[in-house]
Assembly symmetry: C2
Homo-oligomer: 340 residues x 2
């Protein structure tokens, strides 16, 4: 990352000049974008029988990120990734995104460009081009608010509410790494001094991978009865899915896919490994409830996403209890992570 004019802040440029800088980074638009940046609103072509899926989520400086901790490309990436993760949880395909920025006057132009690059790079790879938005001044923190728009066949929508007692619970990827990464950043450690497993945790916090393809193929398998993404941690996701489905849930502690970096970090802080991983937010994995007799269809579909495994971690139950089976005893599920 080189800064040719390190003293140049965005305050010297007007909204139109900044929008022009964004526009130059958006690249080729897919054919469903009838109208992108530059009019009063963006226009996306109709897709036959597809419902429109919309979600918005903001990253606020000093609340969700710090400029002195993370590169701005990562902040931009994450601002879009958390929204694509919400689309993934519905089984939707991304189609476009909007970016709403509130910018402090002293934000360096290079930071602005990096932020936008982080968004447009992910937007290009996810085929969710930036088609509009707005820019305001901020007398306080940098606020990066993204809206993602997707499409899904009406009968393929996955919600949180369709789970039934006996359904199997699967989680994608691994849990607890992002929270371990955040705890490393909070500790003020020089990241160059971290070992590989710990660095991966920091990367999981800064560069989450939305499970878009997995969400889509899982929705197509017709095996998933309910789905939610893990923005606030696995425990909170299980709680919300079970609440919406009016079931209880039982997880198996020994089955939880907790990577070595997250295990070591919890142990070094004297914390319980499983509780820490369950409560840790920002994993942006997917939690699925799967009808027991459709299990093979689900696993077959999931295996088509060879980059991310799914792990059986428990099941939905009758009643309302949320429990963690530790082999020798049954604990209550710990409370989740709260951004706010």
């Amino acid at each position: 990352m080189t800064t040719t004019r390190p003293d140049r802040a965005i305050g010297v440029l007007g909204e139109r000049a900044l929008i022009e800088r964004i526009h130059r980074r958006t690249g080729t638009l897919p054919d469903w974008v009838q109208l992108g940046i530059g009019d009063d609103a963006a226009v996306l072509a109709a897709e036959r029988n597809a419902s429109t899926v919309v979600t918005s989520d903001a990253l606020v400086e000093h609340v969700h990120f710090r400029r002195d901790w993370s590169p701005m490309t990562a902040v931009g990436h994450k601002a879009l990734a958390v929204n694509l993760s919400d689309l993934a949880a519905m089984g939707a395909s991304p189609r476009a995104c909007l970016l709403s920025l509130a910018l402090p006057d002293d934000l360096p132009l290079q930071a602005f460009d990096d932020l936008v690059t982080g968004i447009t790079d992910l937007a290009a790879s996810a085929r969710a081009p930036l088609v509009g938005g707005n820019i305001s001044r901020s007398p306080g923190p940098l606020v990066v608010d993204v809206t993602a728009i997707g499409a899904v066949h009406a009968r393929r929508v996955m919600t949180r509410a369709g789970g039934r007692p006996g359904d199997l619970l699967y989680v994608s990827g691994s849990i607890g790494a992002a929270a371990a990464g955040l705890s490393w950043l909070e500790s003020g450690v020089d990241r160059e001094s971290l070992d590989e497993a710990s660095r991966q945790c920091v990367a999981r916090f800064e560069w989450p991978t939305p499970r878009v393809r997995l969400g889509r193929v899982a929705a197509h398998s017709r095996a998933v009865t309910a789905c939610i993404d893990l923005s606030d941690g696995l425990a909170e996701a299980v709680r919300q899915l079970a609440e919406a489905s009016r079931t209880g849930a039982r997880l198996s502690a020994s089955a939880l896919p907790i990577p070595i970096g997250a295990r070591r970090r919890a142990e070094s802080l004297g914390r319980d490994v499983e509780t820490t991983a369950l409560a840790g937010g920002e994993d942006y994995e997917l939690l699925f409830a799967v009808a027991r007799k459709r299990r093979r269809a689900f696993l077959g579909a999931a295996s088509r996403c060879s980059d991310v495994p799914v792990t059986l971690i428990g099941e939905l139950t009758e009643g309302k209890d949320l429990t963690l089976d530790r082999g020798t005893r049954l604990d209550s599920l710990p409370s989740g992570f709260r951004h706010f």
Copy 2:
């Protein structure tokens, strides 16, 4: 506005409790909302042959509003209204909106409730229900970011770019009132002491009416070659429409619909009335370029919106010049208002 617990700030409540307060205010959902607040994303049913129109715009405290100037219901109303105005400029019908809030910890709960009420009241009357969004803490200003989603038949979309030399320029309603209203608020005057015409200017600043129905019927008339809304003032709107259409434009100063309150305010400040009204932002009216031979169709359609008149103010021209015809002389069009 009564505050039963004046000392209660939103900091004491969590995100879920605040979302629940919003959810209670959303009312009955139209049948196109398959899934509203409460899942990872909202889902809107497909509409046959309709393109999806999306736009987002934010109001930032101390930049766009001040809590000690305007009631929070007005701030909420305006946050949605400016987005509906963008949909109107495309000829789209509103279908839903998302709300992204960054909230200072000391925001009184009553202010939060009033803000939400301002949004949900307009959302209900515009049939654009609040279907999702997110809430974050803000270590600085209150940020109210709204995304509006609409639908329009693909062949009815109005853009800024279709104008041709000779097309007639019409503007809805009146111009300059909102800027006059803002200048009253900035002056610190006690609004109770204002006369009726001046109060109307303040109301135009605080409670803009998005011209949704007019935009829709105008788009259906097939007479409009280009359209834009007046967020940054008429002069800036003419500039952007002409630039996108690769034309010039000539406006007639004597034709401009400037209400008496705006005239008096400009005169009392020793400013030129027409220049002030042309440069004044936040009118949220619509500017139309109309094919000369389709003029009757346009006026017939516009007359179906009896609440808002349209006024012929000039025409698009060959070349690039943007001029204001003052009868005795031809001036350059003044520069527009800039939020940023």
